[in-house]
């Protein structure tokens, strides 16, 4: 809960958080080491100085620090825990649904647990998906289309097996498909970050919501164009929102574009914790105003009402959360 200087309360759902184990003893190979180093570089590139973590803490911060950083200091009321398996890089995985489920057990009113599937698991994976829904009641999945798997360097949502999985997900009552577009999708001569497959999937599965992580960056322009045409495409602001501190002008230009093309009803705040912390992200976002020149040029504004939607109300709608009763549950359980 964030309180404005006028005492207005803003309900916050952080749409993208992790609890990972990337310690050297869990790394399988050089890719495991490079992967967490790359995350750490992003952390160092955009965090305010007082929030910088050394490599050791960044490799594994643990559930207690997470609770403290998100829910005690960080203004998050709820957070969506997104799994990233990466079993080719990490012996026990980077953060799996099963590991994240322990976190939800501890804080059931705070954590929204998402699952994951990988169409390259074919038949076997369809059973796993059904199992995830039956065991954990998940309403969302996180897809990491660039995940390495043996010789495969990724897949697309328009692949035939992807469609079977999306069809199955829809039948199982899953509503939200979070998609991370990553850098190594085959064939290599194509643009690896191409978001066009999301357009296909969103047309084929109009009842599913597609939340594109990092608002499609580094293909924000193509993402915006798809979102204009597909009403069930949303943008997750992880990574993008971190620019609010280190590069405020670029953050402003990007927000103006997003508000112009996608609109305040289809954007979701996300910290990408532990890469960045919601405390400073939310404080800076609430302070932020769209500069007049950009407002004049694009004709859009970022009002308090818009911020309220982006910080929590949009995600609440997607996950069927009634804000008032959820707040009462959190206060009663305090966990």
């Amino acid at each position: 809960m964030f309180k404005t200087s006028n005492g207005e309360e803003i309900f916050v759902i952080d749409a993208h958080i992790h609890l990972w184990d990337a310690r050297p003893e869990n790394q399988k190979n050089v890719h495991g080491a490079q992967f967490i180093n790359c995350f750490h570089d992003y952390h160092k590139a955009l965090s305010p100085e007082e929030y910088l973590w050394p490599a050791e803490k960044f490799q594994r911060y643990g559930a207690d620090a997470l609770y403290e950083d998100l829910f005690v200091n960080g203004y998050d009321d709820m957070a969506i825990c997104q799994p990233t398996y990466l079993k080719d890089f990490y012996k026990e995985g980077f953060n799996t649904t099963e590991q994240n489920a322990l976190l939800r057990e501890k804080h059931p009113d705070r954590i929204i647990l998402n699952g994951a599937f990988d169409p390259r698991d074919e038949e076997e994976g369809l059973d796993y998906l059904e199992n995830l829904v039956n065991t954990y009641g998940i309403k969302g999945v996180k897809l990491y289309t660039a995940e390495w798997r043996g010789d495969s360097k990724g897949y697309k949502l328009s692949d035939p097996w992807s469609k079977r999985y999306l069809d199955k997900a829809q039948k199982l009552g899953i509503k939200n498909i979070h998609v991370h577009k990553g850098p190594t999708i085959l064939p290599l001569n194509r643009d690896a970050f191409d978001v066009a497959d999301i357009d296909d999937a969103a047309t084929d599965f109009p009842e599913l919501n597609f939340i594109v992580d990092h608002v499609g960056l580094p293909r924000l322009d193509d993402f915006c164009w798809i979102a204009v045409q597909e009403p069930n495409v949303y943008g997750g602001l992880a990574v993008a929102s971190a620019f609010v501190h280190a590069r405020p002008r670029y953050f402003a230009e990007m927000m103006a574009e997003l508000l112009f093309w996608v609109g305040e009803d289809r954007l979701l705040f996300a910290s990408d914790y532990g890469i960045w912390q919601p405390k400073w992200l939310i404080e800076k976002f609430m302070e932020f105003e769209l500069p007049e020149d950009l407002s004049a040029e694009t004709g859009v504004n970022l009002t308090l009402e818009g911020k309220r939607k982006i910080l929590g109300l949009n995600a609440a709608k997607l996950y069927g959360i009634d804000v008032e009763s959820q707040m009462a549950r959190i206060e009663a359980g305090e966990g």
Partner: protein
């Protein structure tokens, strides 16, 4: 203080400058910024046989191998144009596909030969997609500047190439934007010539003054994305390697 010239060093600096200027013409195709401006060049040496040794690095271990390959190849070709250079050895470091890329570029392989069974064709199509985006970005920046100078949308829609060339401005930035735009205008936007429209869509259609504002919004989206990416790349490169070492001799 007497400035004593040191001939071998002067010659060396001169040669290095020549190489550096060649490298500066090579763009990161995704960002439309030069590899030298982005800080990608980590080492530049010229040995006693005039062979040129170049090392470069990128912001992450995972940066797209296709773009990395394009840049490595373009750098080699650019420097090989210098008549005194017998050979260029380019090495990409700290990258998940470094070996395949370095090997491919050294042996003069095509991308699909360097990555057998992982590609469908060569990189021409990819290069064109991003060159087209570069056209839009450069056009937007130039249109924006012209509007600031006082041109109206309705005038810009009808402006001919020779009229654009004739605009006199003391603003160095304007001249730079104009020459960068005209360079890519030769590749996109329909027939090129003095009496042709300066500002057309990438596919060569005229822009009507009624749709000018909307057209500009579409361009702006492409430019904002690219600037954001370039910023991200610079920030992450700095995290990974610290402040950029001064490889240049300036």
């Amino acid at each position: 203080m007497v400035l004593a010239p040191n001939p071998p060093m002067v010659e060396d600096k001169h040669l290095r400058d020549e190489v550096w200027n060649c490298l500066a013409t090579v763009n990161d195709p995704e960002l439309d910024e030069s590899v030298t401006d982005m800080g990608f060049i980590d080492r530049l040496e010229i040995d006693k046989n005039n062979e040129v040794i170049i090392e470069f690095r990128l912001p992450t271990f995972w940066c797209a191998p296709n773009f990395a390959f394009l840049m490595a190849n373009d750098m080699r070709e650019a420097v090989e144009k210098l008549s005194w250079v017998p050979r260029v050895i380019i090495t990409l470091t700290d990258h998940c596909h470094a070996e395949a890329i370095n090997n491919g570029v050294h042996k003069g392989l095509s991308f699909s030969e360097a990555f057998p069974e992982q590609t469908e064709a060569n990189l021409d199509e990819l290069r064109e997609i991003f060159r087209r985006k570069a056209f839009k970005m450069r056009q937007e920046l130039l249109l924006r500047t012209l509007k600031e100078i006082g041109y109206k949308g309705s005038e810009l829609c009808l402006l001919k190439i020779d009229e654009l060339v004739a605009i006199v401005s003391e603003d160095h930035n304007f001249s730079l934007l104009r020459s960068r735009y005209l360079e890519v205008r030769k590749e996109f936007g329909g027939p090129y010539g003095c009496d042709k429209l300066a500002f057309t869509s990438d596919t060569g259609e005229a822009i009507s003054s009624e749709s000018f504002v909307e057209y500009l919004s579409g361009l702006r989206r492409v430019r904002v994305n690219s600037e954001f990416n370039a910023n991200m790349c610079r920030s992450v490169l700095k995290s990974r390697y610290g402040e950029n070492k001064k490889v240049a001799t300036n």
